[in-house]
C-alpha cells in the first residue's frame, strides 16, 4: 500500500463529539485494508481526548471528549497520522499470536454445512477441508468480543442465511463471505453455522475475557466428538507466539 492511497482520508463530523473516518478509493479491498492499517496507527499515536474508536468494515468512528479536545484537533490528528506511510508488517508494539482451534464439523453441530457445500458445488468433506486448509487472520472483535476473521479459501464467497437463526450456541464456528467468526454467547446470527469448538472463546470471569486480538492468526482443526470431549478444552489460549 502506498502513501498516496493512504493520504486521502475523509473526515466527517458525526454528532457533537465524534468523527467518521473513511478512505475513499475505488477498490473495496483497498478501502478495507487501509482503514485497518489506519486504525492501528491512530491507536498507537492516540491524541489526548480521544475516548475510543469503533471499527466498521470501511470506516472508523472516533469518539472524543469535547471538553478535553475539539473537532478541529481530532481532525488534524487524523490527517497527520494518515499522511505517514504505513510500515510493513504487523501493527506496532504487538506480538502476533497463533491459535489452533479444534472444531467438530458434523450435521448437528454444523447445520448449514450441507447447504454451504451445495452452494459452492463441493461435498461437505471438501468444505471442511477448505476451512481446515485456510489460514485466518483476526480482522476485528465483533459484537461481544467475537473474533471476526478473514481468509476463508473457497471457490466463491459464501452467502448469509436469508433468515437468521435465532439462537446459536456458544462455540459455533460460522462463515459468510470469505470470513469466519466464532459465536461467544448464545444469540441470533445470519452467518452459516458449520461446526462447533469445545473451547470457551470469551470468559467474562477473567480480567481480560479474551486471549486474542486483531492481527492474530487462527487455524481450524477438524476433530471428532470423542476427540473434542477428550480434549477437556477450557478457555482458548494461543498455541504459539510468533513475532
Amino acid at each position: 500500500m502506498t502513501t498516496a492511497q493512504y493520504g486521502a482520508v475523509a473526515v466527517e463530523p458525526f454528532g457533537d463529539s465524534a468523527v467518521m473516518v473513511t478512505i475513499p478509493h475505488a477498490d473495496q479491498a483497498i478501502r478495507r485494508a487501509a482503514i485497518v492499517a489506519f486504525r492501528d496507527r491512530f491507536l498507537a499515536h492516540r491524541p489526548p481526548g480521544v475516548l475510543d474508536v469503533v471499527s466498521g468494515l470501511e470506516s472508523l468512528l472516533v469518539e472524543f471528549d469535547p471538553l478535553r479536545t475539539a473537532l478541529q484537533h481530532v481532525e488534524y490528528a487524523v490527517r497527520l497520522v494518515a499522511r505517514w506511510a504505513p510500515s510493513d508488517g504487523p501493527s506496532p508494539g504487538r506480538t502476533v499470536r497463533a491459535f489452533t482451534v479444534p472444531v467438530v464439523f458434523d450435521g448437528e453441530y454444523g447445520p448449514d454445512l450441507a447447504s454451504v457445500a451445495e452452494e459452492l458445488g463441493l461435498t461437505p468433506a471438501e468444505v471442511i477441508e477448505a476451512i481446515g486448509e485456510s489460514t485466518f487472520t483476526i480482522a476485528l472483535l465483533g459484537a461481544a468480543m467475537a473474533p471476526m476473521m478473514d481468509g476463508l479459501k473457497v471457490p466463491r464467497p459464501v452467502r448469509r442465511r436469508a433468515e437468521p437463526r435465532t439462537d446459536v450456541v456458544p462455540g459455533s464456528v460460522m462463515i459468510a463471505g470469505t470470513n469466519a467468526i466464532i459465536q461467544p454467547f448464545p444469540g441470533p446470527t445470519g452467518w452459516r453455522v458449520v461446526g462447533r469448538t469445545p473451547h470457551t472463546i470469551v470468559d467474562i470471569s477473567r480480567p481480560d475475557p479474551v486471549s486474542f486480538g486483531p492481527g492474530d492468526v487462527v487455524r481450524f482443526t477438524p476433530v471428532t466428538r470423542d476427540e473434542a470431549a477428550a480434549l477437556d478444552a477450557g478457555f482458548l489460549l494461543p498455541t504459539e507466539e510468533a513475532v
Binding site: 466527517e12 463530523p13 458525526f14 454528532g15 457533537d16 463529539s17 465524534a18 467518521m20 486504525r39 491507536l43 475516548l51 475510543d52 474508536v53 469503533v54 471499527s55 466498521g56 468494515l57 470501511e58 470506516s59 472508523l60 468512528l61 469518539e63 471528549d65 469535547p66 471538553l67 478535553r68 473537532l71 476485528l140 472483535l141 465483533g142 459484537a143 461481544a144 468480543m145 467475537a146 461467544p184 454467547f185 444469540g187 470469551v202 467474562i204 475475557p209 479474551v210 486480538g213
Partner: protein, 340 residues
Amino acid sequence: MTTVGLDITSSGWVTTFQDLGRRDTERRGVPTGGAADQHSASVANLLVGNPREATLIESLGGELALVPGAPVLLAVTGAPAQVTVGGAPADSWSPLVVPAGQEIRVRGDMDRGTRTYLAVNGTLTARTLLGSAAPDARMGFGQVIARGERLLVETEFRGFGRRLFEPQLFRLPVPVPRFDHGPWVVDVVASHGIHTIAGIRQLIEDSTYVVTPRSNHVGLRLDGPVLHPDDDTEIVSHGVPVGALQIPHADELIVLGRYRSLTAGYPIVGVTSRAALPLLGQAGPGRELRFRWIDRETSLRRFARREAEVRALGHAAAEAFGALGFGAPLSRINCEAILI
C-alpha cells in the same frame, strides 16, 4: 473503613449494579453501556461524596427498598420518586442518612421517567467486566440485584448523631433536571444521512414521536412519521455514536442507546446532543418526544454548561464532606468528563 450490609427488601422490576460504563472497549466489540441517565447517576454519587464513576444501583419500575445494618449516607436521583426512610417522607436529589435497621423505600413515578439511581457513600462490592460494574446482557453479565440479597458497602461514614427529622443536612447546588408531563424536547445535531432523504429535516422537526414498548437499552423505537431514501445506496456496517437517529426500512424512528452495536443499511439523519442524552435515558413507553435541530456549537455549549454545574456540585460536596471529616473517596473525584 467498615463494611456495612444492605439487605434488599424489595427490588422492583429490574434493579442492577450500574456505573457510567466501560471505557475504551468499543473497539473490542463491547459497547460502553452504563447508566442510561448518566447525569442522574453522576449526581447521585457526588451527593454522597463518591467519585462520579463509582458503582451504584439503577432501578427501573416498581419499588426498590433496602435496610442497612449500620447508618449509611445515600442519595436517590433520577426520575421523580417517592422516597421514605423508616416510613417518613424524605427528599430525593439530596444526601440522606438512613439509620441502622431503618428501611429506605424508593418508588419512581413511571409517568415522569423510567429510572431511579441510588448511591451509597463508599465502595459497593460488585463484580466487574472490563473494568466496569455496568451490566452487559449480551455477554451474560446481568448484574441483577434481587430481593433477599445482601449487598456490601465499604464506607467511612459513621453517622452524624442526628435525628431524621432535623432540617436538611446540606444545602448543595444540585442540578436537578426537569421531568415535564408534556412532550420532551430533544436537541439533535444533523448528520450526513439527512441529505439522502428530501424533506426529512422538516418532517422530524414538525412531528411528535411516541416511545413504543419495543424499546430497550439498545435503542428507543419511536412511532411517528418518517421518510425513506429514494435510492438504494449501500451503507456498509459502521460504528455510530450513542443517540444516533436511525431510520430503518419500517416506518419508525430509532434512537440508538448506550448498548448499540455497529449498524448497516439504514441512514442516520442526526445524533442527539450530549446534553440531551440523559433525558432520553429516562424516556419510557408512551413518552412523547419532539426533536429540535441545533448546530454543533450550541450543542457543545449546552453540554459544557451542564458539565460545569455537575463539577460545581462535586466541589461543593467535597468541601462539605471534607469539613465533616470523611474524605477518602472524595480525593479520587475525577474531573474528566466521562459521559459518552
